[in-house]
Amino acid sequence: MLDAALAVLVLVGAFFTLVGSWGLAKMPDFFMRLHGPTKASTLGVGAVLVASALYFSFNTDGVSLHEVLVTLFLFMTAPVSAHMMAKAALHLKLKQVERTRSAVVESGVANSYDGTSFRRKE
């Protein structure tokens, strides 16, 4: 019973990690590619970690809670690295797919950003 539950968790984890990587390969521009690995993978890693916590709690003495920390650190660092990459991409004015809507100017936010505000300059 436990083995079946663990197998399901590991498979779910593997599936979401795969989907995250698939998104990385498939999406048309840099900003869209960021979404796959930052999100689809958190649930993937999360499921694998829950499986690990359960396995070691049931098969060794005591409870295994290391995994909570891995999750915590992952949730703190994944968005930060995504943020830094997006920032760098904006700075380098990487290409965006043409249909990207922008609240700032039609030609893309990167071109109008002056360092202090995203508002369109009059």
């Binding site: 979401f16 989907v19 995250g20 698939w22 998104g23 498939k26 999406m27 048309p28 521009d29 900003f31 869209m32 960021l34 979404h35 796959g36 930052t38 999100k39 689809a40 958190t42 649930l43 993937g44 999360g46 005591g62 295994s64 809670l65 290391h66 909570v68 920390l69 949730f75 703190m76 994944a78 968005p79 930060v80 995504a82 943020h83 997006a86 920032k87 991409a89 904006l90 965006q96 797919v97 249909r99 990207t100 809507r101 922008s102 609240a103 700032v104 893309g108 936010v109 950003y113 360092g115 202090t116 505000s117 995203f118 508002r119």
Partner: protein
């Protein structure tokens, strides 16, 4: 007196918990060692923590964390579906969120939360900390999605965090 010895009580509690989790034990020796570290580290890193964090409504914070956890699960399913679907029908967008939250810690937690939840990544914070630039993988109504994020994440964070 207490302010000098224990400048950031929450950070100290957090560090003690992390130490115990890292060692996966609650043995007395590790509790003592963890407590010593929890006292020393905040003192040594005092310069990195300019603001004193005060949590005002722990229940609001707890509810916020549960909402975020739930949203992370939903976000994963949602993004997985978007990735597996046709990339041509996606409508990506840059959105600018006007921030009402003034606490720097609050702003960074908000930006992190936005990156972790449905189809959005925070890209850039304006230098005056008033606006946050967000990229969304697929969005139908920019204003509605901004409103929802403000309502769901910024409001509780503003209630919880108080800058002293």
């Amino acid at each position: 007196m207490w302010n000098k010895v224990l400048p950031h009580p929450l950070l100290s509690v957090f560090l003690l918990l992390v130490w115990l989790l890292l060692n996966n034990t609650v043995a007395m020796g590790h509790v003592v060692l963890g407590a010593v570290l929890a006292l020393l580290i905040p003192l040594l890193t005092l310069g990195f923590w300019p603001e004193r964090v005060v949590v005002r409504h722990p229940w609001v914070l707890l509810k916020f964390l549960l909402v975020v956890l739930w949203d992370i699960v939903v976000a994963n399913l949602h993004v997985a579906a978007l990735i597996l679907g046709s990339a041509r029908t996606l409508q990506p967008a840059f959105m600018v969120m006007e921030l009402d939250i003034r606490s720097p810690l609050g702003a960074s937690i908000l930006a992190n939360t936005i990156s972790l939840t449905p189809g959005t990544v925070s890209c850039e914070l304006s230098t005056d900390r008033r606006q946050l630039l967000i990229h969304a993988l697929h969005v139908d109504d920019v204003d509605a999605s901004l409103r929802e994020m403000k309502q769901r994440y910024e409001r509780p964070l503003m209630e919880v965090l108080q800058v002293c």
